[in-house]
């Protein structure tokens, strides 16, 4: 059955389920992933399909169960473990970045850890400072973790398949506002056609969501959809924006960024993470390091959360998270 549309949540759980069928070593654990099916639906239906030995609810002990994922992977299992919100990483970061991420290197490549750590990111629904962050830059900064940040259901399935089959630790970040949940407004572009059969999308290949000639917008996750809406508005006035969806931060498709900016001569990074010392800086730096082959028509621009915690109240949150209007007006300012 073709042209079947799935939400990103359904695409993720389908990918996990297909891999569980394919490889008995794959199993799922986390808070509320079984009976509840994952607070954001990423493991919906898996308990009924595979039973409680392979889909395990855990206590609120992230250090223990994420560390356990590392220990189980070292013995040949392939855990898919969920950190409910990325905002909670602070209670278990040591197990993630000092162990899951480093045991392979410290063992000279002898230990391999096929773990997929899934987590929810993003704001836009007024969940305030401890439930609305992105933070993927932090994990991309510390070596040893592959970083996947899908923007739509089709990519989400193919990238999850690659993540589970990868023999290295992979962190998989899904934005709540594109999961297609029945209880949260979302950008409909994220729900799209998803083949039933399994397929893998390779890491490190950015996706040109929209071709353009005047400006390159480098972005990812929910911000891809905001960028598309901005590009459509800009097109009305004959401004042609090219949109690059990075898809993965580690590995990072630098060539795709450079190629596009060489063509357009203008770069805007649109990011929902904090502005400073993160993703938007890294993308800008890649261009700055290649100014001998990139001919810019103007300074690089960055849109991101301006180094403030995410405020609860709607007017303030809308002001600090880059919106379609911000992207649009920033591009216009770059053209004049």
């Amino acid at each position: 059955m073709s042209n079947r549309e799935l939400t990103m949540a359904a695409a993720i759980s389908e990918a996990i389920g297909q891999e569980m069928t394919r490889d008995e070593n794959v199993f799922v654990m986390g808070e509320d992933v079984a009976k509840y099916g994952g607070i954001f639906g990423a493991t919906g239906g898996l308990l009924d399909q595979f039973g409680p030995e392979r889909v395990m609810d855990t206590p609120i002990s992230e250090t223990a169960f994420i560390g356990a994922a590392t220990g189980a992977a070292a013995e040949g299992l392939r855990p898919v473990v969920e950190l409910m919100f990325v905002d909670f990483f602070g209670v278990c970061m040591d197990q993630i970045y000092n162990h899951m991420a480093k045991n392979t290197y410290m063992s000279g490549g002898n230990v391999n850890l096929p773990v997929v750590l899934t987590t929810a990111i993003g704001g836009g629904y007024n969940d305030a400072a401890q439930h609305s962050q992105c933070l993927y830059s932090l994990f991309a900064h510390t070596p040893g973790l592959k970083i996947v940040v899908p923007s739509n259901a089709y990519d989400a399935k193919g990238l999850m398949v690659s993540a589970i089959r990868d023999d290295n630790p992979v962190m998989y970040f899904f934005h709540k506002g594109i999961m297609g949940l029945p209880w949260m407004a979302y950008y409909t572009g994220s729900t799209n056609e998803v083949p039933e059969e399994s397929y893998a999308i390779p890491f490190g290949k950015a996706h040109v969501v929209r071709e353009g000639s005047d400006v390159t917008i480098v972005t990812l996750s929910q911000m891809v959809h905001k960028s598309v809406l901005a590009a459509e508005a800009l097109a009305q006035d004959g401004i042609s924006a090219e949109i690059i969806d990075l898809r993965t931060l580690v590995p990072l498709d630098k060539e795709a960024v450079l190629q596009s900016v060489r063509k357009t001569g203008r770069l805007l990074v649109a990011d929902e993470d904090y502005l400073s010392f993160g993703l938007s800086g890294e993308i800008a730096a890649i261009v700055a390091e290649n100014l001998d082959t990139v001919n810019l028509h103007g300074p690089v621009k960055r849109l991101a959360v301006p180094d403030v915690p995410i405020p609860y109240t709607r007017p303030l949150e809308e002001a600090i998270i880059p919106q379609v209007g911000h992207i649009e007006s920033t591009v216009r300012s770059m053209m004049s």
């Binding site: 509320d32 855990t58 007024n126 609860y312």
Partner: protein
């Protein structure tokens, strides 16, 4: 320890305010979140209406809050949880500013920046967090400050039975015990951590038994009853004030509503809540008070005072203005 008549009346009125505040919020919360005024295909929109975002309500859990706060003064500190309203109300946090914070208004406790999981009152020495188990370490610090200042102030830290399996629980109890800090650790056992039952998450039937690991007293309150809570917590608070160190208390209590509003509770037996409500602690205390001589008229007056307070708070919240957008980048630092 037996509460005075005044304390019993105070507890009763506070429980009424809490219950009314929470149950009124159930409906306010739904404003703007239902079809047809939301995105097509959605059944509910968590980001809609005057009070968006997650909402964790404590209807049914009033006894632990009022039985505890009856022993506290404005000098004592509380660290609460992601489900904080009942503690805040019982601690005397201004209802108007609390409601306004939930509405994201500039008149709120945090000028609209914190939201319902992040209620801070410097005057009432109240704080809370959306991170499970995060209040316990900070409670140790507040208690350390009291000791360094030579005061007999105590700090009470509340957490759920699910939080009792978080590392911060262990580290904080050990630190409080070796430093003999005036902290009372109170675990609200409402049997669930979202969908995960206590049995599925916890290796002991009674979290108070874990006190053995810290050489401190541990007591479980078996009934969701304000007088029983008052009795047990009273001992622990007195002990802390005497400088004899921390205690660990677990209180069996009941979550009447979903984990958060919008929770379908598919994981929960259909009639469970119905049965719990039939043994409601507010009804029981009312009966006890009236057996003790409280008249219908007096009871009705208390009830209407409570209703009026809640109504006034939500009206204040609705009518207050939002912060100016310029405030978004203020207050990162003082």
């Amino acid at each position: 320890m037996e509460p005075t008549k005044e304390h019993q009346l105070w507890m009763y009125e506070q429980m009424l305010i809490i219950r009314d505040f929470e149950e009124t919020m159930v409906n306010i919360y739904l404003e703007g979140k239902l079809p047809p005024n939301i995105q097509d295909g959605l059944a509910f929109d968590i980001g809609g209406g005057p009070v968006p975002g997650e909402m964790h309500l404590a209807a049914g859990q009033e006894p632990v809050a009022v039985g505890t706060c009856a022993h506290l003064t404005d000098n004592d500190t509380i660290t609460g949880t992601h489900r904080p309203h009942h503690f805040a109300i019982a601690k005397g946090v201004p209802l108007d500013q609390m409601a306004a914070e939930m509405f994201g208004k500039v008149t709120g406790l945090g000028r609209g920046k914190g939201g319902h999981m992040h209620l801070f009152s410097v005057e009432k020495k109240f704080g809370c967090s959306g991170i499970i188990g995060a209040g316990m370490p900070q409670a140790c610090g507040a208690a350390l400050a009291a000791r360094k200042k030579g005061k007999d102030w105590v700090t009470v830290t509340f957490f759920g039975e699910g939080a009792a399996n978080q590392g911060s629980f262990h580290e904080s109890l050990n630190l409080a015990a070796i430093w003999k800090l005036p902290v009372v650790f109170i675990c609200e056992d409402n049997k669930y951590a979202i969908s995960v039952t206590r049995e599925d998450s916890t290796a002991v039937a009674n979290n108070a038994d874990r006190a053995v690991g810290y050489g401190i007293p541990g007591v479980r309150v078996e009934n969701n009853d304000p007088l029983e809570v008052y009795d047990v917590v009273g001992e622990a608070v007195a002990r802390a004030r005497r400088g004899e160190g921390p205690s660990l208390i677990e209180v069996s209590t009941d979550r009447y509503l979903g984990h958060f509003q919008g929770d379908a509770e598919a994981y929960r037996p259909k009639d469970e809540v119905q049965q719990l409500r039939e043994n409601d602690p507010i009804d029981r205390l009312k009966q006890q008070l009236m057996d003790g001589g409280l008249s219908e008229a007096e009871e009705a007056e208390i009830r209407s005072r409570a209703k009026a307070a809640v109504e006034a708070a939500y009206t204040f919240a609705r009518e207050s203005p939002y912060p100016d957008v310029s405030e978004a980048t203020m207050h990162v630092f003082v």
